[in-house]
């Protein structure tokens, strides 16, 4: 019991590290998802761009929403935002802090997906091979316009009979992959610089307000947890009392209807107490039927 309580207390005091853990797991899951995805470009002029850009942008949206769903703090923040002020004022700085911390954590997995996609290159090759300028590549320069579109659209498919072993196909593929990787590394560089500046410069602006916002957002989280615990405790006791009352009332009813004399005997008192006066099959059946058809009222006063 002590062990559970200590682990529970550790997580309670350190909900940020739990959130960081979930965020890291989602990022790893997104890499794993990408590597197990069987990317298969349609190699048709009208469908390539939709497929390529779809694979690049739709899973990040899904991952972002998953990040919000799995984050307990998102619900806490929404509740704090929508509650009526009542006796307790609302502090917009706290809500802003919670919102920004939730968004930052939810953005990690989508960004990882987009960067991995760009560094791999398949999506961009699929999406933009049909938009290349055929004059730049030797094999496509002297082909009619409709055919060149078809050929360019087939560039992502290595096994197609028209483009297998074609040097121009490899040139286009290489060119696009090079741009895709450059874009991927640039995005990663920009984001890391932004993260570094944010961490470095944050204490320069309003550090005291930040400490307060962080403390009270942690407090709101803890308070919600303790309130739920208290309600659970309370409902357990409530249920216990309610059921005891039910058994007592059943016992009285059975005594009234069956005129059974209380049995005398030394150990009988103890046994009677445990059995709540219900000592044969018919009485148990009546009790169970009443429990189903006529549940007692929610009132133990």
């Amino acid at each position: 019991m002590d062990r559970f309580r200590m682990i529970f207390q550790y997580f309670q005091s350190n909900s940020e590290s739990v959130m960081n853990g979930i965020c890291g797991l989602l990022a790893l899951a997104s890499v794993k998802m990408y590597t197990s995805l069987d990317f298969s470009c349609p190699c048709l002029p009208q469908y390539n761009m939709a497929y390529g850009l779809g694979i690049m942008f739709v899973p990040p949206i899904i991952l972002f929403l998953c990040g919000l769903i799995l984050n307990r703090q998102a619900l806490v923040m929404l509740e704090e935002w929508r509650r009526p002020p009542g006796c307790r004022k609302k502090d917009p700085a706290v809500i802003r802090y919670m919102c920004s911390s939730i968004m930052q954590r939810a953005m990690v997995a989508p960004v990882v997906w987009i960067v991995v996609t760009l560094l791999d290159g398949k999506c961009l090759i699929c999406a933009f091979s049909a938009s290349m300028d055929p004059q730049k590549f030797v094999g496509f320069a002297n082909v009619s316009t409709e055919q060149v579109q078809q050929l360019l659209a087939k560039v992502p498919c290595k096994d197609d009979e028209l483009t297998r072993n074609s040097a121009s196909r490899k040139a286009v593929s290489r060119y696009l992959r090079c741009w895709s990787q450059a874009l991927g590394w640039s995005i990663l560089l920009i984001l890391i610089i932004a993260a570094f500046l944010a961490r470095w410069l944050r204490p320069c602006f309003n550090q005291a307000t930040l400490l307060q916002a962080r403390h009270w957002s942690n407090y709101i989280d803890i308070e919600q947890k303790i309130f739920e615990e208290t309600c659970c405790e309370h409902s357990r006791l409530f249920a216990h009392k309610c059921i005891l009352h039910f058994f007592e009332s059943m016992q009285q009813e059975i005594k009234l209807h069956s005129f059974s004399l209380p049995r005398e005997g030394e150990g009988a008192e103890g046994r009677e107490g445990l059995l709540q006066g219900i000592t044969d099959q018919d009485q148990v059946n009546t009790l169970l039927k009443t429990w189903y058809y006529e549940k007692p009222p929610l009132d133990v006063s």
Binding site: R88, L119, A167, A171, R174, C178, L189, H234, L237
Partner: protein
């Protein structure tokens, strides 16, 4: 449980060893990243140099900054640097120590990437294939091609399947040459870094060791102090929340009792504890009202001192205050000034 506590305490007391761990993981991650990355030289004259040097230099920069971002001490350093002086002086030596120690750890992953890249050779081959010395390695007596064409042919050296300049210079010769230079550079780089690290470690005790010990101690202290403060605030928030919720439920049951003009029923002695735990809420309507009130009208963040026991006009002696920052404290301060 003791095991968890011990591990936790070990990490807590030894932020440096925790950071060493992260640093090692990042170095491994950088080799993994390099082997997973699909190096794809564009084989075009204008793009080769940019691509090759880009892959050589941009990821180390990213890894360096990442080393700072992942290090919790960075915000501690910035905080310590920007805080108002207050009643505690600032020691520039401590800040310098923290900065140096963070920078040293952040350098490891980039150095690993650079070494692995140079030793592998693909980047240098891609970046400098157009600068291969044709006179010494190639066929200088080959019919003279225009310079642009020569550059285009040489640019295809890394892409074996499309290389068409076998008469100008053999592909294997050029690749071997470039890879040899790359590996020489790689080993020299590793040797230089290791020598630097060795010198820094062995010569440091010769220069102001006492000052170094002081800076290290106080930087650990600042780290531990910040962690303990966070823990204390979390403990305090927990206690605050417990008392706040308890007072909320008490307030609710008092309100209800006043509204319904119930005579307090004498609970039998043995059910006293259970009745107390029920917090005075004993039916569905009351519970619903409590939950609605919790949402609509959260209690203020202001704990009042515990009420005197019912039936007695006098407060018991030695009643502990639930919250030291209740207004009573201000009154005491006034008295002490008098």
């Amino acid at each position: 449980m003791d095991k968890f506590r011990m591990i936790f305490q070990f990490f807590q007391s030894n932020q440096e060893s925790f950071m060493n761990g992260i640093c090692g993981i990042m170095a491994l991650a950088s080799t993994q990243m390099y082997s997973a990355f699909d190096f794809n030289c564009p084989c075009l004259p204008q793009y080769n140099l940019a691509y090759g040097l880009g892959i050589l230099l941009v990821p180390p920069f990213i890894l360096f900054l990442l080393g700072f971002v992942l290090n919790n001490n960075i915000s501690m350093l910035a905080e310590e640097w920007r805080r108002p002086r207050g009643r505690r002086g600032k020691d520039a030596a401590v800040l310098r120590y923290m900065c140096c120690s963070m920078a040293q750890r952040a350098m490891i992953a980039p150095v690993v990437w650079l070494s692995v890249t140079l030793l592998d050779g693909k980047c240098i081959t891609c970046a400098f294939c157009t600068s291969v010395p044709l006179e010494s390695l190639g066929n200088a007596s080959h019919p003279h091609l225009p310079q642009g064409e020569v550059q285009r042919v040489l640019a295809r050296i890394p892409c074996k399947e499309i290389y068409n300049g076998q008469q100008l210079i053999a592909n294997e010769v050029a690749v071997r040459y470039l890879r040899c230079i790359s590996q020489a550079l790689g080993w020299c780089f590793v040797l230089l870094m290791t020598t630097l690290a060795f010198l820094v470690r062995s010569l440091r005790p010769c220069f102001s060791q006492a000052a170094f010990l002081k800076s290290r101690y106080w930087s650990h202290y600042i780290d531990i102090e910040r962690k303990l403060f966070d823990e204390t605030c979390a403990e305090h928030a927990r206690s605050f929340a417990k008392v706040c919720i308890q007072q909320f439920f008490e307030g609710m049951s008092t309100d209800l009792a006043a509204a319904r003009c119930h005579l307090p029923r004498k609970a039998p002695a043995d059910a006293g504890e259970a009745a107390e735990k029920l917090l005075g809420i004993t039916d569905q309507g009351t519970m619903n009202m409590a939950l609605k009130s919790w949402h609509r009208c959260k209690p203020p963040l202001h704990l009042h001192p515990p009420a005197p026991p019912t039936g007695n006009g006098w407060a018991g002696e030695g009643q502990p205050l639930t919250h030291p920052s209740a207004p009573r404290k201000e009154t005491a301060a006034y008295y002490s000034l008098v």
